[in-house]
């Protein structure tokens, strides 16, 4: 029995490989989790999107006519996709990480040699996977109502990925600080949902009175939604797409290091 081989990987390469295996294991575990509870994770976003499409798109949308020169249904689709990515990426990581804490199954990971960056990466990748899975479902459903055209693939996929990462990180930090189940529903209910609804998913910012319009520019979700919409139609209102990318990327980096720092300190994990 080559016990020493198993026990101690020798050299940088072996350590890297071991860490990669740990990352993949955690990612697979996270994916398995949201697939196992698909009626809670994949079906609800599909249902609410179907309702949005039916009500705002088909029923009310016909009355509204055009928005910023686009068919209303067309106009809201990118925002709705983004909305489901934001909610689901966030919810996946906060719920999974918090229940791992709550059930203490996180200890199994904490006693292993897995570095914090791999632990973080694994959970974030799980959230991204759920975000992308839901985005795919929602896009597929939208395709029944409108013709999906992509103006700029790079912007569309880039913004999709960055947003999924950013809100997964948000969910992670929420999960770290949470010490009861309520704590992971407060931020989504009181912060994320209002910001998303006011984030230009359903209307063009030009429609707003000046004050509200100016205020809207303090809402980060405005940039995410507008840039993503640009990826589809080449239209982003007066939101600068390049700057949005940089801003989201900066937040991703900041949240990543904040999460790592909190992990290192053992916040909410080690007594």
């Amino acid at each position: 029995m080559p016990r020493d081989d198993i026990l101690l990987p020798q050299g940088r390469r072996a350590v890297f490989e071991a860490n990669f295996v740990a990352f993949r294991t955690l990612l697979v575990k996270e994916i398995r989790r949201f697939l196992r509870i698909w009626p809670q994770t994949l079906i609800p976003p599909a249902i609410s999107m179907a309702l949005y499409f039916a009500i705002f798109g088909a029923i009310i949308g016909r009355r509204i006519g055009e928005m910023a020169g686009f068919d209303y249904m067309e106009f809201i689709v990118p925002g709705l996709i983004m909305m489901s990515v934001i909610t689901n990426a966030y919810a996946n990581v906060s719920a999974s990480f918090f229940s791992a804490k709550f059930q203490r199954s996180i200890e199994a990971l904490l006693v292993s040699p897995t570095p914090n960056s791999v632990l973080l990466g694994g959970f974030i990748a799980g959230g991204v996977a759920r975000g992308l899975a839901v985005a795919a479902i929602v896009t597929l459903m939208a395709a029944f109502f409108i013709e999906i055209r992509i103006h700029n693939w790079f912007v569309t996929l880039g913004m999709l990925l960055l947003t999924a990462v950013l809100f997964s990180l948000g969910g992670f930090i929420n999960g770290l600080f949470a010490d009861k189940f309520d704590d992971i529903s407060i931020i989504p209910a009181f912060v994320l949902t209002p910001l998303t609804y006011l984030g230009g998913v359903f209307y063009a910012l030009e429609l707003l009175p000046d004050v509200w319009r100016t205020l809207s520019y303090f809402n980060p979700i405005v940039y995410v939604v507008a840039s993503f919409r640009y990826g589809f139609f080449g239209y982003s209102g007066d939101v600068p797409v390049g700057l949005s990318f940089i801003a989201v990327a900066v937040f991703v980096v900041a949240f990543w290091f904040l999460s790592l720092w909190l992990l290192q300190r053992g916040t909410g994990l080690r007594t």
Binding site: L7, P9, V21, K29, A108, P113
Partner: protein
């Protein structure tokens, strides 16, 4: 492999967030290949110590090394050496048994075929292979405990730490766990366990530490510890009732029931002589046993809060 101790703890202190000092600067050394018992009453600091060793609890000060690897400076290597079976269940109850163990292998960097092989090996050893596709919540309490043992061993650690592994486990399974642990130990794994069943410690462990109120109050070999206890009391069931206490000089006898005698035997006295005296007195013995667990008596004495600790051990020894 070096000859560094499997576990070395120096001046370990733990003050919890609320200001409670759970460990007051303990020193402990467990040699490679040892089978070590960490005993102590509820709240003594056993789980806290184990928590620090496997980095679930942040120590306040002190030094801990596993096979010479410092848990702060060489944490990855130190962690690879350890397998831990915690006191409380800590797996996700909705996951399948096989997945739980395989995932753990993955966390230690064992991928694909290797992790499946290791998983099968330990699920079989712990009699859980048939349950591999069940969700963990469908296991019985004893099975859950064995699942945690399998999970702790999947990466072939050199030091296995078990925090009350046999709590709530039936006698038969406890016996089979004992023989399993003995085998592991004979094959070279160093084992540290905590238990409240002192006969478990007595039958399994070679060395022992007793911790009380965050301090080590005794650290010695099991044999020495038992030898320190000078007097042993035999309980004799007699064939015929006695009307009075017989004279068994130089032994002291007490009559607890009509047909039951207790005889104290000091270290250095001979059991044969007891029987010679009994014969001479015409007393026939039907059966005989040791009165209570000696270790238990010692344990109670050591961890009593009135400070009479030292006196008892040293008077006895």
């Amino acid at each position: 492999m070096s000859t560094a101790p499997a576990l070395s703890i120096e001046g370990l202190k733990k003050v919890y967030a609320g200001g409670f000092e759970a460990l007051k600067g303990i020193d402990l050394r467990v040699e490679q290949g040892d089978f070590f018992a960490l005993l102590g009453p509820n709240g003594a600091g056993k789980s806290t110590t184990i928590g620090v060793i496997c980095s679930l609890v942040v120590k306040s000060s002190g030094r801990v090394a596993i096979f010479g690897f410092d848990i702060d400076r060489e944490f990855a290597a130190a962690k690879r050496m350890i397998g831990v079976v915690p006191q409380e269940f800590n797996f996700s109850i909705f996951e399948r048994v096989g997945d739980i163990v395989e995932t753990q292998a993955g966390f230690y960097g064992l991928g694909g075929a290797q992790s499946r092989r290791q998983t099968e090996k330990y699920l079989r050893k712990l009699g859980l292979w048939d349950k591999r596709n069940e969700q963990a919540r469908h296991l019985s309490g004893g099975m859950k405990r064995r699942l945690m043992i399998a999970r702790a061993l999947v990466h072939e650690p050199r030091l296995l730490i078990l925090d009350e592994p046999t709590a709530g486990v039936d006698i038969e399974i406890r016996r089979s766990m004992w023989s399993f642990l003995r085998e592991m130990n004979e094959a070279g794994t160093t084992i540290i366990l905590t238990t409240h069943y002192l006969e478990e410690a007595e039958s399994l462990c070679r060395n022992i530490a007793i911790i009380d109120n965050g301090e080590i109050v005794e650290n010695t070999s099991m044999r020495e510890l038992l030898q320190q206890l000078g007097t042993e009391t035999l309980v004799l069931d007699l064939a015929d009732p006695l009307s009075e206490v017989p004279n068994l000089e130089p032994f002291v006898a007490r009559r607890t029931e009509a047909a039951c005698l207790e005889v104290d035997i000091d270290k250095g006295q001979n059991l044969n002589e007891v029987f010679a005296r009994l014969d001479a007195a015409g007393i026939r013995v039907r059966s005989m046993r040791n009165k209570s667990n000696r270790l238990e008596q010692l344990f109670v004495a050591l961890t009593q809060s009135d400070g009479s600790t030292e006196t008892l051990v040293h008077a006895a020894g």
